[in-house]
Symmetry: C2
Subunit: 227 residues, 2 copies
DNA sequence: ACCTGAACACCGTTCAAGT
DNA sequence: ACCTGAACACCGTTCAAGT
């Protein structure tokens, strides 16, 4: 009676052990390749050769996983220590904010998730710390810097959420056109201020508008004292 | 051979004819009663005694329906014509923005949807027109008003999306606590600026912070010329 | 021509029952 | 004690087949 020997389980394990970091890394890879929409618990489970229930041993829920993805994304962001000689510290701050927004621009769905997430990862804290330091370097008082950094990050994240370069935002495109058309065709008698503003309402490249918005907000943050 | 007479189909029609407005009104009622989460195409269909496919004759998709819900919500918003005697026109502008944000605060999920929607309904245009008029009344040049109104509305909508009073935001609550804890426990050696800012980072009622953010942004909008 | 039943192709999360 | 198969309770959208 020949008995079939089971192949040693320790050799070439097709199934690597599940870990939180491994799940996050797999999620990151799928997000880069196919966008956050495809990063579902079921997809990750099948990618890791297990059932969806197993992921919940290492991750509280899908939203927490999105927070981990943001932190992986921010790992490569570099920050200037301070403004160079003859450099406007506000320009350095604006470009740092633009750098963060650019990263999120490629993943608008992640930006949408982050907007309601209150991220707490180490790289996100590094971003907050860098922005606070740059605000202080612009001469902004500490209380205004503390309240201001939140608003600046919100503006950056919301802009990435609403704009966005991936095909996923193609859904929203027809509605953007609808607003454009509505503004242009608005009855001047009923909407006189819209008529007065005219094409200025929708003019200019998105990045120019974003830079201007950052500059305006930084100016206000530095001038208006907190109550 | 008695034949059963069919009951006249024209009497007491249990099924009112489907219309776009009727669908939107039903959606609005469900949203008020149970939140936007419950406003699904399937739920609306069963509420209207039909199949989900029938709704697509009158509504392009769920996102377009959310735009209609926003416009219904904005129908009751009133706007001040101008600042009264001895009244700061900036305060009037701030309170108008707070009024819009308050309405959205009760429906954070709608705010999330609106953020990527570019609304185009008549009441939304009325809101844009009113804000433009108030900005002009503050002495803000037309180009800055035109670019500014977009950012102000984005800030309002994003704040409503991320805060929010309904139980639906209870999901996000543990993460808000996680950020709070992370900021408080941040290593001062690694995050010196966070340590310096201390509790100022999370101090103050949400509404005070929002009013301050509006004030700061309005100040910047009025001072920084568009490129 | 207009409307819709049924199907397509999925979701996140839980929990009883395994090992 | 730790892990997971299977189920629960849903989604938005499409299209062939009806009336």
């Amino acid at each position: 009676m020949p008995s079939s020997q089971p192949v040693s389980r320790r050799e070439r394990p097709a199934k690597p052990a599940l870990t939180r970091a491994g799940i996050a890394a797999t999620a990151f890879r799928v997000m880069q390749a196919e966008g956050l929409e495809r990063v579902t618990m079921r997809r990750l489970a099948s990618e890791l050769d297990t059932g969806p229930a197993s992921l919940y041993v290492y991750v509280r829920n899908a939203s927490e996983l999105h927070g981990a993805l943001l932190d992986l994304l921010l790992a490569d962001l570099g920050y200037p220590a301070a403004a160079g000689p003859g450099e406007d510290p506000r320009d350095v701050l604006v470009e740092t904010l633009v750098g963060y927004t650019r990263v999120l621009f490629s993943y608008p769905s992640l930006a949408r998730s982050v907007l309601i997430l209150r991220p707490a990862g180490p790289h996100y804290l590094t971003l907050i710390d860098a922005l606070l330091r740059l605000l202080r370097a612009c001469g902004v008082p500490v209380t205004q810097s503390a309240w201001g950094v939140d608003v600046l990050l919100q503006l950056a994240t919301a802009t990435a959420a609403e704009q966005g370069t991936r095909e996923e935002s193609a859904e929203a495109a027809p509605e953007a056109d609808a607003q454009l058309a509505a503004l242009r065709q608005a009855d001047p008698a009923r909407y006189p201020a819209i008529a007065e503003a005219g094409d200025e309402l929708v003019s200019g490249p998105a990045l120019d508008r974003l830079r201007w918005a950052f500059r305006a907000l930084i100016t206000g943050i530095s001038e208006v004292p907190v109550p």
